[in-house]
């Protein structure tokens, strides 16, 4: 590549161009990371609110709820009694008083809480961190180039995401409340305000996601172009680290999937604001509610793989580095990801088995869904193979890598139950699905994110994260996570529906009261454990132990760059001589052979 004179020479930058409207991929990556962590708190807080309601239905929240009425009478008039009255009059009253009269979560508010929890976690936490933060930070560094192909687009991608987040947050405060039709936004509930009483909340939800879609689109074009065109000399496709492969594949999925959601959202907005009926079946003809589901899931299933593939990539790095071994079956790992990316397009109907879609199609989608379990299994076996006869170092990032694999196994196996159409009749729309989602997305993607943050932190900020705090955070999270989400499988087997605000209204769910309380306690523990991570993150940025250039002794190119990484990344662009996982090569003195070390050159170990 062209040697970038002006990129590497030192020029003074103003605060604004360095930290705010930065064009540097590393800064944009960090911006996405902090953005994601902030939204993580919002999303998590919402979850704790509705978990309280599930464990103690109609009981006021301890802090907000110590209302006079409750103190005096031991109960409060809320819930179903007030539902109808409140729904259209909301604008006249105070926000908290409308949504949580006397500290009790109203049913309509409850719907909004879980809708926004999922929307924020999926679109504003996991994707921005995995794709926005890791993608931006790692791609140029790991393929050996100075920046992204289109730095201005890159900046645009971040600021569009900020705009989307602002719009999404504003939605909480508009009259009628925020979107409350589930993160899946099924029409006609979402497409006609009369069914929920939600007015501009749902519109803003759709508009915000449209903008977030543009942000992803711009980012993915950038990633694809960069990876195809700007690899360092010698960096062939089959020498790319798996995390780069995963981000490459995800960028392609984003590019193809998001426009489908955008179209669906546009139609939804027309239905809501212009009186069209794309998603409503009227007697005079019109559209079809199932059209929304097809469009949503045609996007949605690739989307769930967007949520996991970079996690798989990160886990692969962690496991290879800390087993000091090459990835077992590197090529089959790549092919498995490609297979997932292809098959991901033909399985969307598994979300619609009970939707009224023609039953014959159910069988077809069951078959394709079963097929997609195969590459997932291949990946798992290869991770095990990578650890086989390794020299495993139990660093905190590795603990997260191991947690990723074990949690993903549970999530993948629960997928088999739901892929099975007859079994899905029973567990569809129950907590079984909730358990599955969280085992793959929290147990999978988030553990990979945590591990990745701790692993690359020394390159990002030139310091280590505090290891004691990281370990406490890991173990608390791991235990509380399993206590929170494993019992949800049991709730699902008992038939406990998802998205209900008060399970105690049902005779057949009475036995689950204790379990719901246990889950809520665990969820609060889980939530508070995350404070440790965030504290550690910001504290270590300034106070952490200073890190050397390549603290984990990794072979890939990002560790060739000086720490802190300067503008332009590398003094001279490195040349790549070998694959990314040359650990413990026989005959070599060190147990790691950097990608950039010339053949037969004398080993220059440690820095």
């Amino acid at each position: 590549m062209h040697d970038n004179e002006h990129a590497s020479h030192h020029h003074e930058e103003s605060f604004i161009s360095k930290y705010i409207f930065s064009l540097d991929h590393k800064m944009i990556g960090k911006q996405f990371l902090i953005y994601g962590l902030l939204m993580f708190f919002l999303g998590g807080g919402l979850a704790l609110l509705f978990r309280w309601q599930l464990a103690y239905p109609e009981k006021p929240l301890p802090i907000i709820g110590a209302s006079e009425q409750y103190m005096e009478e031991g109960e409060v008039v809320t819930g179903a009694d007030r539902m109808w009255e409140n729904i259209y009059e909301s604008e006249k009253e105070e926000w908290l008083e409308v949504n949580m009269p006397n500290g009790v979560v109203e049913p309509a508010f409850y719907n909004m809480l879980f809708t926004m929890h999922a929307t924020i976690m999926v679109f504003f936490v996991v994707v921005p961190i995995l794709v926005g933060a890791f993608g931006n930070f790692l791609i140029p560094l790991m393929i050996g180039t100075r920046d992204m192909a289109f730095p201005i687009l890159n900046m645009l991608s971040f600021w569009l995401a900020v705009l989307a987040a602002i719009i999404m947050v504003v939605g909480f405060f508009v009259p009628g409340g925020h979107a409350a039709a589930g993160w899946t936004g099924y029409a006609p509930l979402s497409s006609d305000p009369q069914w929920t009483g939600v007015d501009w909340g749902q519109n803003l939800w759709a508009i915000s996601l449209l903008i977030q879609g543009f942000s992803s689109l711009v980012g993915s074009i950038n990633y694809i172009t960069t990876i195809i065109n700007m690899r360092a000399p010698g960096m062939t496709f089959f020498r790319l680290p798996l995390v780069i492969w995963s981000l490459f594949i995800v960028a392609i999925l984003l590019l193809l999937a998001f426009p489908v959601l955008s179209s669906a959202l546009a139609l939804l907005i027309f239905d809501r604001l212009a009186g069209t009926t794309f998603f409503t079946a009227t007697t005079e003809g019109g559209g079809d509610p199932l059209l929304w589901q097809h469009l949503f899931w045609f996007f949605g299933h690739p989307e769930v793989y967007i949520l996991i593939l970079p996690g798989m990539g990160i886990a692969s790095e962690l496991i290879a580095v800390f087993s000091r071994k090459p990835i077992f079956g590197y090529r089959s790992m790549v092919y498995a990801m490609i297979a997932i990316a292809f098959l991901g397009w033909i399985v969307w109907g598994h979300h619609m088995f009970q939707s009224g879609m023609r039953p014959g199609l159910g069988s077809v989608f069951m078959t394709t869904t079963m097929l997609i379990a195969v590459p997932s299994a291949i990946k798992t076996f290869n991770w095990l193979g990578t650890m086989f006869r390794g020299a495993i170092k139990f660093t905190t990032p590795m603990l997260h890598g191991i947690a990723f694999v074990s949690m993903f196994v549970i999530g993948g196996l629960s997928g088999i139950y739901m892929a099975n159409t007859p079994v899905d009749i029973f567990i569809h729309d129950t907590y079984y699905i909730v358990a599955h989602i969280h085992y793959v997305v929290f147990g999978g993607s988030l553990f990979a994110i945590f591990g990745g943050i701790i692993f690359w932190f020394p390159k990002m900020y030139g310091r280590y994260m505090n290891d004691v705090l990281s370990k406490i955070h890991f173990w608390l999270t791991f235990i509380a996570f399993n206590c929170t989400f494993f019992p949800m499988h049991i709730l699902g087997v008992g038939g406990h529906m998802r998205r209900i605000s008060n399970p105690m209204q049902y005779e057949f769910l009475q036995t689950f009261e204790g379990m719901n309380i246990f889950i809520t306690m665990s969820a609060f523990t889980l939530g508070f454990a995350q404070l440790i991570l965030v504290f550690n993150f910001f504290w270590s940025m300034y106070r952490g132990k200073v890190a050397e250039q390549n603290p984990w002794q990794v072979t890939t190119l990002e560790w060739e760059a000086p720490t802190p990484v300067p503008h332009g990344n590398f003094g001279q662009i490195p040349t790549v001589y070998r694959g990314p996982y040359e650990y413990s090569v026989p005959g070599e003195e060190d147990d790691w052979t950097p990608q950039a070390r010339p053949e037969h050159a004398p080993a220059t170990s440690g820095d």
Binding site: S355, M370, G385, A391, N420, R499, N502, Y506
Partner: protein, 220 residues
Amino acid sequence: MLQWLPENVSTFGQGVDNLFYGIYYLTLVVFILVMGTLIVFLIKYRHQEGKRADYIEGSTTLEIVWTAATTVIVFGLAMLSYPQWNNIKSPTQFPDNPDVVVQVSGKQFNWDMTYPGPDNELGTDDDLKLENELHVPVNAVVHIRLTSEDVIHSFFVPQLRLKQDSLPNRFINVWFEATKAGRYEIPCAELCGFGHSGMLGYLNVHTQESYDAWVQERWP
């Protein structure tokens, strides 16, 4: 874990449960094998001073073996499931000549049951409309004509192992044959608005005599 399943009271429910159990044992075995291997590896191959990892890049044979094995297993599972699924959901395979036909319509936040009456036709004078109460005889084939008046709801009877979304302006047929008299809940399983939680009907499965008496009372 599966002892938490509600009691099954439908003819096809046993088939569903068998698959459930089959998958449960299958995944349990896989889980124990994978986790066991993982734990053994973590202990056995932990980093020890002076010991290096073996340089192993992979094994084509193993890749082929485990790809083939998982493919065969998941396809086998799919094969076992097709007939059960069709039996429950494909209208062409429903038992003919239902003993009872009822139209069930979801609306925010109730289940409306409409019986066609003695003339067996909906939309006539002898129709009977009931809110949230469905009455059927035990050991009889019941056809439900499922629809909705506003948004999507989902007709769920846990003990029948039956769930089907109901859609506005569409009629979806489902069937069941209950094997045990009793009163069962019919929660709505699809988010349908602020009253979704608590949208609840009841399925009353009568003995034949008590059902006949019920019919006698409604259409004397």
